[in-house]
């Protein structure tokens, strides 16, 4: 594959920080996050928008970063899994995934964390069915999904301030 020489300068807010990077016109966001910005929490699985491992938020919209051109995020806000925890304090979705064993190999987990967090910001009290449909684009070959769903519904309870 020929890499074009004409690089573009892009300015975006990434995990709350104003960030500038260079990218090729055809380069996807997932690749720039990992290879240019060293934010390797975001994983690349299928690279065709099927697996959800590269899920990020762009202006609070859940997307696959393998299907977004890096140049498209000019002036936008991007959140990756690196921006989810508050310092040393895990986000409830992360904490509950740990407690429920909602991960094994961990490759899908950054995408699951981002997607589940987006779900709970959109719908603080999802039914199990709503959670399963929302997360249908995050493939996991280890857990069988059940523990992930239990963790997400439990995190929702915590975030609503209800006792577990």
């Amino acid at each position: 594959m020929n890499k074009p020489l004409n690089k573009m300068a892009v300015q975006a807010t990434i995990n709350g920080e104003s960030t500038a990077f260079l990218c090729s016109p055809g380069q996807v966001l997932a690749e720039v996050l990992r290879d240019e910005l060293e934010l390797i929490g975001t994983k690349i699985g299928c690279n065709t928008g099927d697996c959800g491992a590269c899920s990020v938020l762009v202006d609070d919209r859940l997307v696959c970063s393998c299907l977004v051109l890096a140049a498209e995020v000019e002036g936008k806000s991007v959140q990756t899994v690196e921006g989810v925890a508050n310092g040393g304090e895990l986000h409830p979705v992360q904490q509950k995934l740990l407690e429920h064993g909602g991960l094994q190999c961990g490759i899908c987990t950054p995408g699951v964390v981002i997607a589940a967090k987006a779900l709970l910001e959109h719908n603080p009290d999802p039914t199990e069915e709503q959670a399963r449909y929302w997360l249908a684009g995050n493939l996991c070959r280890c857990t069988g999904y059940d523990k992930i769903i239990r963790a997400v519904l439990d995190a929702a309870k915590t975030m609503r301030g209800e006792a577990a």
Binding site: P4, G26, V28, C66, L67, L69, E74
Partner: protein, 290 residues
């Protein structure tokens, strides 16, 4: 990828300008087909022109006569619009069946239409609702019905330099509703074996005053089946009328056999889907009246 240039125009005239030199360009809406196509080598544009900074392309506007959906408005935005899902529940059903939450955050009805897959979910729903395409090109504007926009598998009617600006749907009159149903082996994240979109108008006495029946994934393009509509209009949507409509869609269907189903199976199933979609649209009309 050998994309040499990325341009993000902020107006229709800038978009026209961006492709006026004839370089191999692709319009970028949500990118959920284009970027996959580039990665798989099926598409090889030198220039990508992003449409999402052009206000008309992402707007959703509703007035007394029509609903205008910008060609690059995401499925997520359409599904969370305050009015579109209640005006066109069938179109919403179709958009909600496309891909995952992540894909719906980016994919658009306009992109689904331009990509022109025979199995595209939103196309039968747009056809059933009588949607028109507003197209802007070097020679000015033209309108084209959605059923005439797709000319073959993965082929649309856009000439070089032309842009699909928006989809214009007539606002449903009283007693009108739509529905879209498809069959897939999985419940989520799958491609239609067959699909059916219908829109019907039923008057107070239960008489079917207008109908549009469209089928997907059973021919090289989604089809508007006039003969099915003719069988329904003027009837009480009784069994004989529905049987005649089903017979008409099965006669119009010309599916292929592939791993998702045989031609015989698809032909059978599309009739079942039309029956159920009609019942669903009818229930919606009854519910709105009660």
């Amino acid at each position: 990828m050998a994309v040499q240039e990325f341009i993000s125009p902020t107006s229709l005239s800038e978009a026209q300008q961006a492709v006026s030199d004839g370089a191999v360009s692709s319009w970028l809406a949500g990118g959920t087909d284009l970027l996959v196509g580039i990665r798989l080598g099926a598409r090889d544009p030198a220039r990508v022109v992003d449409l999402k900074q052009i206000p008309e392309l992402t707007a959703i506007e509703i007035d007394d006569a029509s609903v205008r959906i910008g060609a690059a408005a995401s499925a997520f935005d359409v599904l969370h619009n305050s009015d579109v899902p209640s005006l066109f529940p069938g179109l919403a059903e179709a958009l909600d069946l496309i891909g995952s939450t992540q894909i719906q955050g980016r994919c658009s009805a306009g992109g689904n239409l331009c990509n022109a897959s025979p199995a595209a979910d939103s196309i039968p729903a747009l056809i059933a609702n009588g949607a028109q395409c507003r197209i802007l090109g070097p020679d000015g504007e033209r309108m084209l019905a959605v059923e005439d926009f797709v000319v073959g598998p993965n082929q649309n009617a856009l000439a070089p330099g032309e842009l699909l600006v928006e989809l214009i749907l007539p606002r449903p009159t009283a007693g009108t509703s739509d529905s879209y149903l498809r069959l897939t082996p999985r419940t989520e994240m799958d491609i239609a074996v067959a699909g059916a979109g219908v829109s019907i108008t039923v008057d107070e006495s239960g008489n079917c005053a207008a109908a549009r029946v469209a089928i997907g994934a059973v021919a090289p393009t989604a089809l508007l089946v006039d003969a099915a509509a003719e069988a329904l209009v003027g009837s009480q949507l009784d069994q004989a009328a529905i049987d005649a409509a089903v017979e008409a869609v099965r006669a119009a269907a010309a599916p292929i056999s592939d791993k998702r189903g045989t031609a015989e199976y698809r032909t059978h199933v599309v009739g079942v889907l039309v029956t159920r979609a009609l019942a669903k649209a009818q229930d919606r009309i009854t519910e709105a009246r009660s």
